[in-house]
């Protein structure tokens, strides 16, 4: 179960971090704001998913 949770955390920040990085590169956003926002959002979503999938 621990591996599944870790997988969600990596996938969460990875997917949305990559999308944020893409937005940064495409629109020329300074200081990696998209990447950082994406990674933090991804972490939130991953924790939410872990609670929904494996809570109780």
């Amino acid at each position: 179960m621990g591996w599944t949770a870790l997988g969600y955390l990596i996938a969460g920040s990875g997917v949305w971090g990559a999308i944020g990085w893409g937005i940064d590169a495409y629109f020329g956003v300074p200081k990696h704001i998209g990447l950082l926002t994406g990674m933090i959002l991804g972490m939130f979503l991953a924790v939410y998913l872990i609670v929904k999938r494996m809570g109780t």
Binding site: W3, T4, G7, Y8, I10, A11, G12, G14, V15, W16, I19, L41, G42, L45, A46, Y48, L49, K52, R53
Partner: protein, 260 residues
Amino acid sequence: MSQLATLTTSDIPWPPSTGDFFLPDVAGPWITKFTILVWLAVALIIAFFMLTQRNAKIVPSKSQWLGESVYGFVRDGVAKDVIGHDGAKFAPYLTTLFCFIAVTNIYSIIPTAQISPNSHIAFPIVLAVISWVIFNVVGIRKHGFGHYVKMNLVPPGVPKLLLPLLIPIEFISTFLLRPVTLSVRLFANMFAGHLILLVFTLGGFLLVGSGNIGLAVAGVISWGMAIALTIFEAAIALLQAYVFVMLSASYIAGAIADEH
């Protein structure tokens, strides 16, 4: 000691590098030491089960008991325990997988073999892909393609607005990250184990041959560490075989589980 003293620094391949994992071809580019080790592993496993299960009786002999306890360990301890009452169906696959990984891993500490084929990522990748195909196929067979995909990608009890944010994460972690972590975990453990043994063994030779008494003592300690780590490596080899089989079983269990 005189033999040790003749080993000068230039004789010892130092420092250990990834180059140490690419052994010279034995016969043409298709037959390497790894090929032979894998063939040998397959032959050993076939021979082991043929010999122990030949004239199987209701009251088992000692050798029959040995073979059955390996199979029983995976069937009862992994397949039935993780997958449930459907688990016995998958016991032959899981046992084969366990034996193959255990034998190829334990090569890393057997003299003359000294290296596990699993320290090349190609071997773990193939094993992980087989497990990946199996858990997806049994899941699709049981639930139908659409339902299986929906079951894996759409978590229950989640507001519709959040779904576009969550589905990419579910897709990556279920269908891409699972085979990747499965293979990388096995590969990295065997790779690191081989490298650590090289560092302590070859480093011991370097230190002992350095001509400095303090360093020579450190070299002997380094050999002691190499022996301790060899025992540790044996435990890792079997543990990683178990973990690989355990995770394969839990992916199969997740794929054929009813709604949760």
